[in-house]
Symmetry: C2
């Protein structure tokens, strides 16, 4: 593919929408400037193009196999991840004190997104390792950090998250894995973990598992869950590898997509003890995991957007080249066919993709930018406000892209028609890959309950109020541009409906009824946020058009403006039906008896 | 799976909603009665359960291979199709005069749907053979019918449709395959055909291709297209097989789903002449093909509903058995988890599937019932009215199930979570299989232009007006049941909006602008029809509840009533935004310049 990511759009977000300069001026990011960030993104694109992109189809067609007790993955995967590691991308977001490059989170997200777009299955290994290392950095002891962090930041060892079990996916309170105390601060892990991405393979020299388990005698439910570190190979005090830690590969899951990412069922203490060390304090495992999961949810949302982008760019290229049909007013069958991009319905499907993908990227990018603002904030109160704001945004930033960029992939297939349905083109792979994103790191319905059952209620609605204020600010800026009057008014109206609906649900004393339509609320909430992101982008584009833009630049900004218009006319009006339904506390689902199915 | 189709729902449609008795009382169907139809459906279920269902996963995992010039498909496929043929299902819908069983079309559709639900990839071979034979029956010469019909009705020879070419899928006007006249009424076919399902294999003794081609010197565009019959092996006057007809398999398409159905690129006259005979008159190929395509579109819509049903029943079974989580008001972590069917959001996803699948089945079933009414009508004017009505309904009956039962499959995966994403459960296969349905037999956008650009305009809107009158009738019946007052009022309002939107588009002089949002119109049009189908079903269910229903029957009718309520509260309100957009003749897509992407 000639263009597999849109660098221009990344730069637009970083420098024109979010103002990266604010971050780069802060002491925390003093080692970086606009040029170094640009060079880093160039490097990501070059490495991804050279090593990740060419083997995406290969890894999809040759999923991991269980051969003589080991996982077999095409050898190109290890080489590609080595190239990624050697270019420094495992260490990019970590603090200099931990051996990292301390780049802004928003730039790290965009760089990792480039790899995701090229080859999601491979990028997952790096993503999981970073999430694992981030948790270790935050809650590990000095000894744990010294032993495990450096090889992970160098990309020599990979990391996993061991949360789910065969009987407990969404319901972590019910995990059954035990951690029995041994002398010398060790624990013996007993049990099975399911859906472990990167759980066993030969792509790295060691695998560091972060495992949720219960110490016998602890309280029931989530309060009894602790977090443990268990490596595939034990690690000596000097960092050298010791013996195998008895974590047995019990089976591989054969997935619909993301096939290059090995996904395992693991059994602990098989044939011997699986030794683990406690991370932080007992009983706080889930709290620590949620720390990581906020980052992971953002990553999943962004990965969904990147899958969407891959499909969008593939179908865009196809639509420009494929000649077929004539425009409705041309009845001459001997006239030459037109590129299908000229058909209104193909434009609609391209616009639907552009609106979803670039809207979603703006939202996940904005969340990462807020994380950076939090990191550079001197004021504790400001950090708390940002935390509350991120708390409300995160479930949406995970979910909306997962739903709507999957829908974008559906459109990409449709544009290619029969060709899109074959494995000769990447669009069906993006569609299959993306289907996991509404499921993992907390399924859609779980995110919805997190948002409506918890986040909009916390601290008297602090995060929600802060969010509404941010949107009001964007509306105020939009009002200054007369071209955007319709969109500005529509966003204000959408925000009012969001507020009224939220109030109506929170006023109910019936928790089950109030949460019954949480998923629909989450989706409409997301539409309001994406509308905001589009108004914001269109405001910037309008100013740029007024100021100076010509040539390529003008086309880019015109595209932003018109895509904003598309979103406000074709997508945002859908919230009316949704908010009316949610606000009415409709019980059609809740009261449907299971015997009626 | 314990239940892979819902026989109760089929009987409900046939006997309680559509009144099959009207058909069975007609002379045309005198050989059938309620008991024989019931026995036929029993037989379909038994054969499908024994032969089709068990190898659905096998055929998906072992797609056709090109080995030494032949297509290799697991041998179980041939045996299963033999069992299907021996039970008489190839001949079911054909006239007795042609060697068929002359069963009502609606019953044939339901029977074929049972096979589709069990194994779409296999059912396709029978479906294509029937479509082919139906065209041959209608337009073939006595000699063509005598040679080819009997072995197809016996399921010994299969049929294909050769329309698309590599450069022309949606745009059939641009096909390039040539038919050069030879002596003795033969033609030599030259060219390539793409996406030919069942195009080459060893599952049958011969393959009868229906091929669109142009006779040199004819007019450009669709008027130059004629229809030809070309067998894989030439057929002697006595019906015996002659030499190979030089139709070369040039390649297999590797699809995302429906993998058991071999899909080919065929080259005609490779190494020798491909001899073909003309079907009907020259230049009428497309008209003949559309005759078949009406039936095929109905079949595709029904197949989409059946894929949806497969996912629905799988996820329903899973939701009843899988224990996880607790209800929102229960804060005791030591209490046992509940079956996930008790969670409101899981109920919502099941209801969304039920509403889409049973609504779609009602719509496709109703269309087939109208075909039967047309077949038994004595009055030519009545037949024309039914033809106009079917003309408007068919693009919707093809499209709505293809979109919304695919969405249903997405919900089925979501209910199973990580398990749903693996190939250990059939839900991801249904999702992949179903993704083809919005593409083949006329892609979604083509159906939309057929509906808004043609069908609602034909004969001064005759078909559209007839349809509106039918819906008004259903509203009038619904009004008699006080429980349905909200739904009755909502359907009337929806119909008014459909009428107003249609008028607004037809009033425009700008054809390109009028058609720019045809796909959104088609989708909302479908929502109105499905709303109608649900009100109709709920009216029947309400009467049954008043009259007598108890036990299992009561649960069934309660389910119908509550699913109707779900559709009217959660789905139908979506049309407001859609009709407002379409009625405003919005140009956001049409005027988006391709250089802005």
């Amino acid at each position: 593919m000639s263009q597999f990511v849109q660098r221009r759009d990344i730069d637009f977000l970083l420098h024109e929408v979010f103002d990266l300069k604010t971050l780069l001026d802060a002491p925390r990011y003093r080692a970086h400037d606009r040029e170094s960030i640009s060079a880093m993104l160039d490097s990501a694109e070059a490495v991804a193009r050279k090593h990740f992109l060419p083997i995406a189809g290969l890894l999809d067609a040759n999923e991991p196999k269980f051969v003589e007790g080991r996982v077999e993955i095409p050898s190109e995967a290890r080489a590609a991840l080595r190239a990624h590691a050697e270019a420094g991308f495992f260490a990019l977001g970590f603090d200099e004190a931990d051996g990292g490059l301390q780049a802004p989170t928003v730039a790290v997200l965009m760089a990792s997104g480039i790899f995701t777009c090229a080859n999601l299955s491979l990028a997952n290994y790096a993503f999981l390792t970073a999430a694992n290392a981030n948790m270790l950095r935050a809650f590990g002891t000095e000894d744990q950090r010294r032993r495990y962090l450096p090889p992970m930041l160098e990309g020599r060892w990979f990391g996993t998250m061991c949360l789910s079990e065969p009987q407990a996916g969404s319901s972590l309170a019910d995990i059954a894995t035990k951690a029995e105390p041994l002398p010398d601060s060790f624990y013996r892990l007993k049990g099975s973990k399911m859906w472990i991405s990167g759980g066993d393979h030969e792509l790295a020299d060691n695998i560091v598992h972060m495992v949720l388990a219960k110490i016998p005698g602890g309280p029931p439910g989530v309060k009894g869950i602790s977090l443990f570190l268990a490596p595939r190979y034990r690690v000596e005090a000097d960092g050298s590898l010791g013996s195998w830690n008895n974590i047995a590969l019990a089976g591989l899951n054969h997935k619909m997509g993301q096939r290059g990412t090995v996904n395992c069922l693991l059994n602990f203490s098989e044939g011997g003890d699986t030794l683990a060390t406690l991370i932080g304090e007992p009983g706080k495992g889930l709290a620590y995991m949620f720390h990581m999961m906020n980052e992971a949810r953002l990553g999943v949302g962004h990965a969904a957007a990147m899958c969407g982008l891959g499909g969008y760019l593939s179908s865009l290229e196809y639509a420009r080249q494929r000649l077929q049909g004539r425009l409705p007013n041309n009845k001459d069958p001997s006239s030459p066919p037109v590129p299908i991009i000229e058909h209104a319905d193909v434009k609609r499907m391209l616009l639907a993709q552009k609106a979803a993908v670039e809207g979603a990227m703006a939202l996940t990018g904005y969340c990462a930018y807020l994380v950076d603002l939090q990191k550079i904030a001197d004021d504790a109160a400001e950090r708390e406000r940002l935390d509350a704001l991120l708390g409300v945004l995160t479930p949406v930033a995970k979910s909306w892209p997962s739903e709507h960029c999957l829908e974008a992939n559906k459109h990409a297939i449709q544009i290619l028609g029969g060709y899109g349905y074959t494995r000769d083109f990447p669009v069906e792979r993006f569609y299959r890959d993306n289907r996991l994103n509404p499921i993992h790191e907390g399924a859609l319905g779980i995110q919805a309950i997190d948002l409506l059952g918890r986040k909009v209620r916390l601290d008297g609605g602090l995060g929600f109020d802060l969010l509404c204020a941010k949107i009001e600010d964007a509306v105020a800026l939009g009002r200054l541009e007369s071209e955007l009057s319709a969109e500005t008014a529509a966003l204000q109206e959408a925000l009012d409906k969001l507020r009224a609906t939220t109030r109506a649900v929170l006023a109910s004393n019936d928790l089950a009824l109030g949460l019954a339509n949480a998923t629909i609320y989450l989706d409409a909430f997301g539409h309001v946020l994406i509308g905001w992101m589009w108004l914001w982008q269109a405001t910037v584009a309008t100013r740029a058009l007024h100021a100076r833009a010509d040539g390529e630049g003008r086309l880019f900004y015109m595209g932003k403006l018109a895509a904003c218009r598309y979103f406000f006319r074709y997508e945002l009006p859908k919230i009316d039906a949704a908010f009316t339904l949610v606000g009415s506390l409709d019980d059609a689902c809740l009261s449907f008896e299971s015997s009626w199915f």
